[in-house]
Structure formats: structure tokens, C-alpha cells
Symmetry: C2
Subunit: 296 residues, 2 copies
Amino acid sequence: MFDYKLLSALAAVIEQAGFERAAQVLGLSQSAISQRIKLLEARVGQPVLVRANPPSPTDVGRRLLNHVQQVRLLERDLQSQVPALDEEGMPERLRIALNADSLATWWAAAAGEFCADQQVLLDLVVEDQEVGLKRMRAGEVAACLCGSERPVAGARSLLLGAMRYRALASPAFMARYFPSGFDAGRLSRTPALVFGPDDFLQHRYLASLGIEDGFLHHLCPSSEGFLRMTEAGLGWGLVPELQVRDQLASGRLVEISADKPIDVPLYWHHWRNGGQLLGQLTEHLRLTAGQWLVPL
Amino acid sequence: MFDYKLLSALAAVIEQAGFERAAQVLGLSQSAISQRIKLLEARVGQPVLVRANPPSPTDVGRRLLNHVQQVRLLERDLQSQVPALDEEGMPERLRIALNADSLATWWAAAAGEFCADQQVLLDLVVEDQEVGLKRMRAGEVAACLCGSERPVAGARSLLLGAMRYRALASPAFMARYFPSGFDAGRLSRTPALVFGPDDFLQHRYLASLGIEDGFLHHLCPSSEGFLRMTEAGLGWGLVPELQVRDQLASGRLVEISADKPIDVPLYWHHWRNGGQLLGQLTEHLRLTAGQWLVPL
């Protein structure tokens, strides 16, 4: 068998983004952590960590991490049957990558009760889909929620539904830029809001109006900041419907043109051998996500 | 004089995080962009870019970017006096690093009208303070809003006020973990919410109660996700007061213990020679921030 003291040290250094915090979490000295990593490297015959700030795993380090995370999930299954094995009585941690808009809207409502009941602690990572799946492949996360269907090797993907986005602006924005009513031709000359270089929703919306040119835009990589900037009249943008029910009802935000929502599918990627807990969470999301997501 | 065609190409590749998008933005072919970067490298005698995905500047590249951004701000000042110089009639872009909680709360209200009136487009970057100041030093951003007072070389810092955080949880969370009333000794054994490895607010709060041990926690690197998870009863955490007025009024969230806010100072870092626009924005923030921030 592997020496899991060494592997746990590696996992802690990566998960805690440093030797000092890893030592704190494991209740060890920093030099004890260093010793364990060195011993692990001596055994595998090559470095497992790139000593940068924060440290990152080498290729072989990643494979070891992947293994640790799978073993942890499997151990958890066993512990539910053999509670005495659970040395520390600590809740399990589940590391999950997800898109910013899900985290800002429905994720907590969907996962909250499950995690409280199951005593699961979440390590959430906000990533766009490419990076999220890369982290999944690297074994850094147990699951990933993103817009891409294709699973990585060893994982499954499940369509949970779609998030509905609406093109919105403040009444003051509309009055400033469209004093005599909405005009699609002028839209690309008014400032848009864009989440980041991988956010093409505004491009898609303009394309749906027949506009393929570039357009003026602010960049705002924060779901709530995006909404605040829309409310403040800085620009127009595609916002999850879930996030703006109050604003639409009160008229603080309005749709810039007729009903033209964009639906973005969301897939739940999870390891095939992820253990019972991940399987239960997957089943829970499958059953409940329809409360917030629309069918595709 | 430098060849600003070459420097603009470098700036576009970094700002757009790739050659393809840089080409789109500048209305050039991708090979024209590559040519310009190569020519620039031939002139300075060393690489200006690390060809990764996304590309990043070398040390000398960073110095060139810093220069480009300063020149742009100075050009803008001149253009307000000599409008004919403004070839493209495009609004100016201002790249600013700020903390996630400011962007999720008061930033848009404070900066919105100014940017709309001045036709400024914002490139916002969410960073914790260390990385924000590093980007400032590297010339990647014109200003930075963060908790650290010490300015980088060539910049000034201005205290705008403090964000007030309160330790909150849902009534269901309190009923589950503190059925017979709040007990500071038990708090570290209930799950907390932590924004990320650099968020020590929960540690500070526990320390103020005399608790110095480790504690259970979820990691949730999203301001709005953090709030949603608190509402869903997943954990307790320090939340900006600005973000939860409704929740506190309606009782959806409650203070976990007596009135014990934590005030976090916010400093505005800006270049000393940042030009008139940056100076005006600085003055605007100095005059208005008190509407949202508390005095320190």
C-alpha cells in the first residue's frame, strides 16, 4: 500500500496553497511537511511539487492527487458502514469547480440542505468551463459544473438544465442611449458589459439581431458586480433571470428589446468512481435542479 | 519616439489575452499582430511576451505596458484640449484591480455616473490586495482598490474609508447548531464560510471571541455565492453590511452574537502621473465613497 501520510501531506500543500497552512491543517510542523514531501519524492523518484508560490503539482503529483481524492471518497463510503474507522470525526471535503453565475444564483439553494445533512464541507472553485474541466482531469476537483457536455476520461456528464439569460439595462441607460425607442443598429455603439474574454453572450445576442461588428464594452469579472453595473446604468448585458426577478418586477431593470432570452446549458461532470457521496449529490442535483434551471 | 503601433499590439495581446482577439480589436490579421510583436522584440533585443495561453509579458514587456498605459492617459488629457487628435473617437479604457466585495456592493454606484458622463469603459480585474498591487507595479492596471496602505513606487494611496463586515448566519443555522442560544466555545465546531486562503476575517472574528484554534469551513470564492450559502444555512461568515440590509431587516439573516462588526480599510492606489481622467476619478471617489464606507 502507498504511505498515505505522505500523500496527505502532498494533498494538504496543494489544497491549502502552501506549506505553512498545510502544516496548520494537519497539526504538524512545517519541517515535518517538507520531510514527508521529500520522502514521497524519493519514493517516486521525481519531484511531485513545483516549489512556487502557491506550489503546484507536477504531472506525477497530479496523478497522486487524483488518487488521494478518489481514495478519500471511497473511504467515506466505508466509514458510513464502519464508523470506528473514522479517526478524526471530521466532515468530508468535496472540491467542486463551477461557473460564477451558478454560484451567484441557484447553487447554494440546491446544494445547501444536502451538504448540511451530510456534513459535507465544500471547497468551491470558480472557473470557466475549460479550466474547470482541466482541473477535473488533473484530479484537483471531484466534480465540475459547466457549459460543456464532453466528459473527461473517467468521468460522466449529466445535463441539469439551462440557465436563462435576459438582455437588460437600467431605465436611465435606455433613456440616455435610446431616447426615441430601441434601435438594434445603435446597440453596438452603446457600452455593453462583458464578464471576461470567454463571455460571448453579448456577442450572441448582437448576432441574433444581425449585428456582427465589434462593440464597446466594460469588462467586469464578477456576477454581482455585473448586475450592480447594469443597475447603475454603465451598460447593457445578459444577466441570469434567476438573479433579477426583483429588479424586473420593480422596473429597476428592463429588457432592452422584445423577449429574446438566451439559454445556456449546464452539465454536471463527476467521476465514475467518485464514491457514494458524490453519487448522492449527483442524484440530488438531478432531482432538484429543475426548480432553478429551464429544460433545454 | 517609440513606435506605438508595435506597443499597441503588445498591449492588445495582453489586454485581450491572446493574438486572435487582439487582432479582432485592432482590426488587423493575426499575422500582422505577430509581425509587430516580433519587430518590437527585434528592437528591444529580447522577448516581450511569454507565448503561453494566455500570453504574459516578460519583465521588459511589463515595463513597456506600463509605459503604454501612462501614455494613453496622458494622450487623453491632450485630446480633451485638441479633439482632432482623437483619431478613433473611441472612449478611453481604464483598467482597475479591486477587491471582490467592493465590486459586489458599492463600486458601481460610486463609479457609474462618472464613467457614463466621461465615456470611460472599465476593464475591471478582481484580485486580492497582493496581486492587485503586483499588477499595479507591473503597469497592468491604472489603479487598485485594496486593503493595503503602502503604495507601490510611482503611485499614491488614499484612504477612502472602511467596509463594515458583520458575522451572520441564517435562523435555521442558528437553530441547528445553537438550539439553546449562542455559545462562543461551540462556534469553531460549526461550519464557517471562508472566501479563500487569504480571507482571515473569520479567523479575526473567532480571535475576538478568544478562540485561536482551527475551525471547520467551506471555501467559496464569490461574494454573492458566499451570501447565498449563508442564506441557505451552509455556514456562518463575515458579510459586508452593505450587501445584507434587506436580509437583516427581513430576518433572513441574523447576527450570530452581539454587535461585533469588523471594519476593513480600503485604499485607492493610483499613479502619480496617471493623467487628468484618473485624477478626476480619484477626486470623485474621495468625495463620494463616504456614502457607502464608514470612517476608520
